[in-house]
Symmetry: C2
Subunit: 605 residues, 2 copies
């Protein structure tokens, strides 16, 4: 029955995605990152995607697959933001303004998904957005505030709390406990790197082999396997959020869960109402079940993320970490209980007292695994606070997040979102990596030495047919305009599209424009002899402030300029003469080439 | 006795500052902001400043003046960072790298001052730093982690907590309470704007009149007045941190403070262990004392901030807000108690129960006032969390912070640090304001139309004496090098300093360099006739990739380029010919001019 329901939900989800909105699959964060960096994916943030993603997200989560709702909710929020933008002229016309709205929408998305408004703003800053000025920070903050306020008004958890996994721990942590926390960080980093590699390898196989042709079948098979494996184990049968919540929880005297079956026949020296910490049979059973759940989650998530249903990564990653953390926590706890006379425990862990909080280990483990997969740091720690209210555990969380990032970065430099961006070949100029090679603009610009000269348009002596011939024989998106072919002094840059439209319009609507009309890009147009055709003035479509660098400019600076100013192309001059052009694609290709020549990066990619 | 001790401490502090390290005064944050934006203040981050500031900060805080330790601690941290930088060649030589270290140091400073590691990172991002790439974010995060870890190891509060003002509230807040919270936000904004205006007016008077000549006397007078006014009132006599801590605290049954003297003869409907909420005589006395303390703090802080002692603003601002908040909180509480039948209280505030937490109001008020003065948003809310552990009150805090920022921004656009930067005339290019005027590069560049032409150096036909004449007759920091005077095609840019040093060295050490030697900036140097003096080759000092824009480039873009790339100057070309130059000072002057022409900004400044 469980399996049949799961199959029905997932079948419906994948059919809806396949039939109506192919963009509704996946988490959407890699694509939003790419869009925010200036690339346009038409329809990705449209209303169909919104409707279908919302419906299928519910179905996909209900089907028991190992996926979360957070990433897709960010995508949904961005769809809403984009659609609202269309209502206001100011945003409809201005690409940059719209991107600011999308950044704020991403913040609101996380804010709603987790009830973590500040974490949402920081997630948008650290992980999603490409360019994040302070103004956008405040706007995102406001969006997140409204989102949190709305959430609070609706009060979905029924406890006047925004916090999803509220924990209340009794004991402060001891400095020596940092050791297991750092171990959890290392585990998180290893898991993150392993997950990214395996997932990318599997997605690449899906893209290149016949497997990709049967997305519906794939979803059904994975759902069936998940359901069959998950059902017998109570920790995988329950919803993943519940599982995390239970793992985070500290055992009070009233807790009846198996995880809290401690033997109570030791005399507590403190006489408090906490159970003594010798693990009972229930705990041992739970440990086995959790270990099995861990193995299952680890593998099934690799195959789930990237299927043709909406799928987020936060919850599965956190579950893996929480299970590992709880296992380690119970182990350390038992160690401290049975060996409280060891030197490392002496002084802070009196016999019979509970000095270890396994729930805290679960929390730290969850943070470490999430960090390993996404490579977040600040936003991760803030999200963990806001999720759990565990403000006192800032140092353990930070230590685990940092270790996890270091370990994962040492194995593979990209986070899961960047890896998927590269897998899909989006033109994304990574803002995080420093470019430190010693090449210069002249090494990257086109034309190369052996190629024919750069196609240029002169400002005052070309005929309409000459320009049409240039436009017809090349596919560049724009052409530099120079004073004359001999001087090669740059006047401006004209876009191919503008050029085609202007000439077409002029031929249709303007009298006397024929193939032999001279095109003038100058302000002043000399008087024509009476029998020559009337001239075509195109100064208005000329961009008079194209970006230029000299051929000697180090590529380090060029890359920096492209990133910070969001350029699509840049002209290269030498001693005031136009020499060539560098486009964003040239820059990306160059960075990739340099990275491949670098022996270290071969090892790490 | 109290007054005499205060006078002794403050006298010692001001004498030390005046005698050994004049830079040790004030909060230091405006100067650090300026330094991070690329300006150099020699000795500002040196070892003397470090030593003297550390000592005098202790003295100034002990003297009972209305000042805090947070800003100065950021300065101290940056001094440490700067001094450590000198030990490593990598950082000593690279200005940009050093600034990254300083950003991280600022984060660590706040982390230590408040025990708020994440808040510190965000403070550095939002308030202090000029350019904050993700790499710096992670490094700051690490620095803050180590700082928090060290703090935790030392355990200064003796409770295994980093949290300075730990609060534990019992009641969730009700949506209707947002109204008073927003009122507190408005109060915070008004106070912030009022404080900034008055403080700047006072500091300007100090700078321009005879007052500035007697810093020691000023400090003594202010200390004496503070001490005399503060002593009779128990809320101003105690240290400001204690005051804030007491105001934030909710009244438990065990609290013996006057603020918690509630009348207990009403029968609580809940039968819980909380005191009933009819204010007793103690509360009324406390209210009067607090109101007086508020008035005193408001005025004395205006005169204190900017004196010749280290002085931070966080704690005094928070104190003002906390007092105002507590007053409002008690008022609302009593209103709810005596009028629980009113429609607005019905349904959530049963008779005799305590449904209002005055401590929460104090917390929100503190956030609002701090926000009004500094205009922080995200970092403010995070710092408030980390200070109090009050994670559930995220929406009230966010609402107050946002309101406060809006109100304060409507009255005066600058935060206190920016206002002090402008007061001191540091060349700081504000990264937050958008420049939206329609001027172009040609309107700003020098030379203006009526001025003589730009001073340039030609690449291959100037003699040593010609160049020396140019360097001697002008004071520019650098000169563009062109192909020839007639073509005006730009080759590169040479710094005045490099030029002087190179020519001097060549004259001393190189044979045959005389006043009539030709200077070559070219790669190739043509063979000289035997009887002419040997040529001087200076290509190595030429910057071959100077930044250029065309004369038609909108100033909006030019300002953006200056900000994002941290330029000091930029050359202006037209059709490939060099036309003029724009320096950072020209940009700043232009922005100021345009702001003055704008009728709106006159109103608001």
């Amino acid at each position: 029955m469980y399996v049949i329901w799961a199959l029905m939900f997932s079948l419906l989800a994948v059919l809806l995605v396949k039939g109506f909105a192919p963009y509704a699959c996946g988490s959407g964060i890699p694509e939003i990152k790419t869009i925010l960096s200036g690339f346009i994916i038409r329809g990705y943030l449209g209303k169909w995607t919104l409707v279908i993603k919302t419906i299928t997200l519910v179905l996909a989560v209900s089907s028991g697959l190992s996926l979360g709702k957070e990433g897709p909710l960010v995508h949904v929020a961005c769809c809403c933001g984009n659609i609202l933008c269309h209502l206001f002229t100011k945003y409809r016309k201005n690409e940059a303004k719209r991107r600011e709205v999308l950044s704020a929408a991403a913040a609101a998305g996380v804010s709603v998904a987790f009830g973590a408004p500040i974490g949402g703003v920081l997630f948008s800053l650290e992980e999603v957005s490409y360019y994040f000025p302070l103004k956008t920070l405040w706007r995102s903050f406001f969006a997140a505030l409204v989102a949190a306020f709305t959430l609070r008004s609706i009060n979905p958890f029924g406890n006047s709390r925004l916090v999803l996994f509220y924990v209340e721990f009794h004991m402060p942590w001891h400095l020596l406990e940092l050791l297991p926390f750092i171990l959890l960080g290392i585990f998180g980093g290893l898991w993150g790197a392993f997950f990214i590699r395996s997932n990318i390898a599997w997605c690449r196989r899906r893209k290149t082999t016949r497997l990709g042709k049967y997305p519906v079948l794939e979803v059904l098979v994975v759902t069936a396997i998940t359901a069959i494996l998950a059902f017998p184990n109570e920790y995988t049968r329950m919803s993943t959020s519940e599982l995390i919540s239970e793992l985070f929880n500290d055992c009070g005297i009233l807790d009846s869960s198996k995880l809290c079956e401690y033997v109570n026949d030791f005399n507590s020296t403190k006489g408090d109402d906490l159970p003594d910490r010798a693990a009972g049979p229930g705990v041992y059973t739970a440990m086995w079940q959790l270990a099995l759940a861990l193995i299952m989650k680890v593998f099934i998530t690799i195959f789930t993320f990237g299927m043709k249903v909406p799928s987020g990564l936060f919850i599965p990653s956190m579950a893996v970490g929480a299970i590992a953390g709880r296992l380690l926590g119970v182990a350390v706890e038992q160690l401290a209980f049975y060996h409280h006379d060891w030197a490392i425990f002496s002084g802070w862990c009196s016999p019979g007292a509970d000095c270890i909080t396994p729930g805290l280990y679960a929390m730290v483990g969850a943070a470490a695994c999430l960090g390993g997969v996404t490579r977040m740091t600040v936003s991760l720690v803030v999200i963990m606070f806001e999720l759990t209210g565990g403000l006192e555990y800032i140092v353990p969380l930070m230590a685990a997040a940092m270790t996890s990032k270091w370990v994962a970065d040492a194995i593979g430099r990209e986070g899961i979102y960047d890896a998927h961006i590269r897998l899909n070949g989006y033109p994304f100029l990574e803002a995080k990596e420093e470019f430190s090679h010693k090449t210069r603009a002249r090494d990257v610009m086109r034309p190369r030495k052996s190629d024919p000269a750069l196609t240029v348009i002169t400002q005052a002596d070309m005929r309409v047919e000459d320009v049409e011939a240039i436009v017809g024989s090349t596919t560049y998106s724009g052409y530099p305009v120079v004073v004359s072919r001999t001087s090669q002094r740059l006047v401006g840059f004209v876009l191919r599209r503008d050029l085609i439209i202007s000439i077409e319009n002029a031929r249709k609507k303007q009298d006397g424009i024929v193939s032999t009309s001279i095109i003038y890009f100058t302000d002043y147009c000399p008087p024509q002899s009476p029998n020559s055709p009337s001239p075509l003035k195109l100064r208005s479509i000329l961009d008079l402030s194209p970006f230029t660098v000299t051929d000697e400019t180090p590529m380090e600076i060029v890359v920096d300029i492209f990133r910070k100013l969001g350029l699509r192309q840049c002209l290269v001059t030498h001693n005031g003469k136009l020499l060539g052009i560098i486009t964003k694609k040239d820059v990306l290709k160059h960075i990739a080439q340099m990275a491949n020549q670098d022996p270290e990066s071969i090892l790490f990619n």
